[in-house]
Symmetry: C2
Subunit: 206 residues, 2 copies
């Protein structure tokens, strides 16, 4: 079975399963079941079993899943047995928060560069990164073979920055700018836009 | 047709349509079509027409959608004809970025309070908000009839904080803590966790 054969929606659930069982591990738990995991996540046990079965056998009927083993396997499937270096584009409030965010490292990612076009920000330190001039971005990303970037620019710069990232070899972009961006085949984009989430909920508010 | 009859996945696409046509309006455009909108968003024109048709007639065959009118209607449907006050819980880097974030106001939301349990943060100013003691949260939220909150605490505090928010009358929670939280029926939760988005993309990276 090739990677293309497994629906994106199944892939999208694996990080949620991984997050939950890593949390269980932190709490000292060693074994779980699709039933327990499902209750924690608000999905059915059958869906969890079906999703995981696409990738192999991770538990035994009646004894459940060994959390350490399942965690290792999910990390392997999601290519998290390495730590991916990331570039942040935009050193405003969002870029700042991302540079300081402590939650990436133990989940497979670390921000190693941050860029901005504002001469007032270039050269300043954010966390342990120094803001670099965006004109040096392509070269820096190519030299470091960076494949993952987070775009935290204003909406009107996001497409231009994306084009430069793709040209420099980036294959996965997490876009915080509140605008849809286009990428060529083979490059992935995910979006984080809090206002769309809020608007989805406000529908139900009256 | 009651609100429950329209699938959540359709509701979830409305903010994306709204964002795109508001962008078009900013660019000076007055009319669009399901075809143009679909191309911008990477979805089919048929899906857009079908989604919108669940709420009424917003365009004429052959002449497309008047952007101003469609925008007003989408805002009305999503209950964005008012600005919703929001509470932020947690004044760390994420809470800080949310308090400074300029992108909420013109999309129907504004942060009006921020809480933390750290005496080193309480009383400090973040943007135009003053960090309040979390022990005052329930009362402040009830008095101001706040219905929307953003949780930006560490994972191990998120459920406790959520329970307090719900008890105080909050109906919509945007959770930035990397953990699944439980809420009673009638309360909505959406999640923002950049690492899960990144992990979904890293699957395709090798």
């Amino acid at each position: 079975m090739t990677k293309r054969d497994i629906p994106g929606i199944v892939i999208g659930r694996l990080p949620i399963y991984l997050r939950a069982i890593q949390r269980m591990a932190q709490e000292g738990q060693r074994v779980t079941s699709s039933k327990e995991l499902g209750e924690r996540l608000g999905v059915s046990a059958a869906q969890i079993r079906k999703d995981l079965s696409q990738f192999g056998e991770f538990g035994k009927q009646g004894t459940g899943y060994n959390i350490k083993y399942l965690s290792e396997q999910l990390r392997r499937i999601l290519n998290l047995d390495v730590v991916w270096d990331m570039a942040i584009v935009g050193a405003g409030d969002v870029g700042n928060a991302l540079a300081h965010y402590q939650g990436f490292r133990d989940r497979g990612f670390q921000a190693t560069m941050i860029f901005d076009n504002d001469s007032g920000k270039i050269g300043k330190k954010i966390g342990n990164l120094i803001v670099q001039d965006i004109s040096e971005m392509s070269k820096a990303i190519q030299q470091a073979s960076i494949k993952v970037a987070m775009v935290a620019t204003p909406a009107n710069h996001a497409q231009e920055v994306t084009d430069q990232l793709v040209e420099a070899g980036v294959k996965a972009i997490l876009n915080y700018a509140p605008i849809q961006i286009s990428v060529p085949e083979g490059v992935r984009v995910e979006y984080i836009d809090p206002a769309t989430h809020l608007q989805k909920m406000s529908y139900y508010l009256k």
